[in-house]
């Protein structure tokens, strides 16, 4: 048995002429909270549907918990909260949990206790005997979360689990994910809410146009050191020389404004530069080198990158929603 909860190789899905997922190769380790990020239409939901056997891949292969997808057994240990969280709405919250539990082979007292505990966990005990048709959007999403956990899964797919929730609901989801992690459950999370991903996920993959753009472990790269410099006018040689210390980045939004303001102030004004370096040790060297070349160094500071900034950077500036 492999220690990978999700494994895909060259997964591809074509809808007619539209290539929704181009070539997806992923490995998610057991026990990991994995963030699957990308703009609208990137192919996140389609990838997830392929993993759950809801749509057939056009090419490639994948396995869940060691069993090939499409195999019924692969889904026995899996929970799923669909993106649009629509359910059989003529049932009550309690009934739907029981029905879905029975589809996993649960029954009797154990099932009833499980359903009640989950209703309690997602704060729906009061509404448990009302029909889903009468639920609000956030209530439906919470009942969906409970449904995703009814079989005590070892792997849970959550497709934007907080899209309909208020801040309290979001905290609830965050806590549930934390509990799942503590129990060693693998969580596969699709989300746009990068702040949340940042606090919940161990690792993320960015996809766009159905292709993986970047895969990274959080806490490493986002904590990676980015340096912002405010310096006097640089000659071309010095500007290029800065690249020795790390990767030159386009100025951040805030810095760019300031730099525009500085430019407007006239020739010889100071400007902002951004640079990504390996670690803090580079800072004194940068300072020494600039001062050595006679550059006026006004400010040198490190910034922690938010995932959101990173997202925008990876996706590119041309990103139009769609």
């Amino acid at each position: 048995m492999s220690d990978l909860a999700v494994e895909t190789h060259g997964l591809r899905k074509r809808f007619g002429r539209k290539l929704a997922v181009a070539d997806l190769s992923l490995s998610v380790r057991q026990g990991e909270v994995f963030g699957f990020l990308g703009p609208n239409g990137a192919g996140k939901t389609t990838s997830l549907k392929m993993l759950l056997g809801l749509v057939a891949p056009s090419a490639g292969r994948a396995a869940l918990l060691g069993a090939p997808v499409g195999d019924r057994r692969a889904r026995a240990g899996v929970g799923f909260l669909p993106e649009h969280f629509r359910f059989q709405d003529w049932l009550t919250g309690r009934e739907i949990l029981r029905f879905h539990g029975r589809l996993f082979g649960l029954h009797g007292r154990a099932l009833h206790a499980r359903a009640d505990a989950l209703l309690e966990r997602v704060r729906l005990t009061e509404a448990a005997d009302r029909k889903l048709r009468e639920y609000s959007k956030g209530m439906l999403q919470r009942v969906g979360l409970a449904l995703a956990l009814v079989n005590e899964p070892r792997l849970v797919f959550l497709d934007e689990p907080t899209s309909g929730l208020d801040p309290i609901g979001r905290l609830l989801v965050r806590d549930v994910i934390r509990e799942l992690r503590e129990r060693g459950v693998t969580v596969f999370l699709n989300s746009h809410l990068l702040g949340e991903v940042e606090v919940t996920c161990d690792r993320v993959t960015f996809i766009k146009g159905g292709r993986t753009l970047r895969e990274m472990t959080l806490g490493e790269e986002t904590a990676g050191v980015e340096v912002e410099l405010r310096v006097g006018p640089l000659d071309a040689e010095t500007a290029a020389g800065l690249a020795r210390f790390g990767r030159l980045l386009s100025p951040a939004a805030g810095a760019a404004n300031e730099s525009a303001a500085a430019l407007a102030a006239g020739p010889g004004a100071t400007g902002w530069h951004r640079l990504k370096v390996a670690d803090d040790a580079a800072l004194p060297e940068i300072a020494r080198w600039l001062v050595g070349r006679g550059v006026a160094l006004h400010e040198l500071r490190t910034v922690r990158r938010s995932l959101e900034a990173l997202f925008l950077e990876i996706m590119g500036d041309d990103q139009a929603p769609g």
Binding site: R72, R75, H84, Q88, W90, E95, L147
Partner: protein
């Protein structure tokens, strides 16, 4: 198997809360009451009529009973198409099918579970309504038509066939398109059957062939024709005084064709649903 039964249970739950089922039940009840009242007066007049022979009286009662069963046939036919028409397409369109299909159930179990649930509901409806008509005939006219043990099961085959067509359409078509398709097919068979009868009357082979092809495409109406033919005495068949005594009777082969047709439709439905993206 256990999971299939869970799907059956879930689907029965779904069917029971449907307004259309309530409408079918209320409509059916209203029909039975009206039918009982009508039967009462007709049976009284027939009974008092001194000029009618005993045999003529029996033929008259048989014809009224068949007319009642014909109405039941139409009601059951409509229920067979309309009740399951959106059980798949509706759940696929709303997305509630996703949570179901992501469970460790085979798609074929979902499909057969839904099929079985609606077969039970519609067969129950048919049995109740046909039983009601026969009970009215028995209680009021002291009459039971011959051949009901052969005729009623044929009507059952007919509704099972229509449920299967409606479910199969739902694997690919939207609810409205599916309903149109099922009724369109039925209409085709209905018209085709009349073309066949008239063709037989005027001895036009081309018209008969048109009817046969229509019945092959959708054997539902032919099943009713044969069922009605079975539920009357030989004399009445030969007299051809009612629309239930056709000039051309569907053969037993047509019954086998209908059974095979149903089986094939269910298999196609299972395959079509298994392959479809949700």
């Amino acid at each position: 198997m256990k999971r299939l039964l869970v799907v059956v249970h879930l689907t029965l739950h779904e069917a029971m809360r449907r307004r259309v089922l309530l409408a079918a039940l209320l409509g059916g009840l209203a029909f039975l009451i009206l039918y009982g009242v009508g039967f009462h007066f007709i049976a009284r007049d027939v009974g008092r009529n001194a000029r009618m022979t005993l045999i003529e009286k029996r033929v008259a009662l048989n014809a009224i009973t068949l007319a009642g069963l014909y109405a039941v046939n139409l009601l059951a036919m409509m229920s067979a198409v309309l009740l399951p028409v959106d059980t798949l397409s509706g759940e696929i369109a709303s997305g509630s099918m996703q949570a179901l299909a992501a469970k460790p159930v085979r798609r074929v179990e979902i499909l057969l579970g839904k099929w079985l649930a609606y077969v039970l509901v519609v067969a129950g409806y048919l049995a109740g309504m046909a039983g009601g008509v026969l009970l009215v005939a028995r209680a009021i006219g002291h009459f039971t038509p011959p051949g009901i043990t052969g005729g009623i099961p044929l009507m059952l085959v007919e509704v099972v066939l229509l449920v299967s067509v409606s479910i199969a359409g739902g694997t690919r078509l939207s609810t409205v398109t599916n309903g149109m398709m099922a009724f369109g097919l039925y209409g085709l068979a209905f018209i085709g059957n009349w073309v066949e009868q008239i063709g037989t009357y005027v001895d036009n082979q081309a018209a008969r062939d048109v009817g046969t092809v229509a019945s092959l495409l959708m054997p539902a109406e032919a099943l009713w024709q044969r069922a009605a033919w079975m539920m009357q005495p030989a004399l009445m068949r030969d007299l051809r005084v009612t629309p239930f005594s056709p000039a051309s009777v569907p053969s037993p082969a047509m019954v086998w064709w209908a059974a095979a047709y149903t089986l094939v439709v269910v298999i196609i439905a299972a395959r079509s649903f298994a392959k479809r993206g949700l």
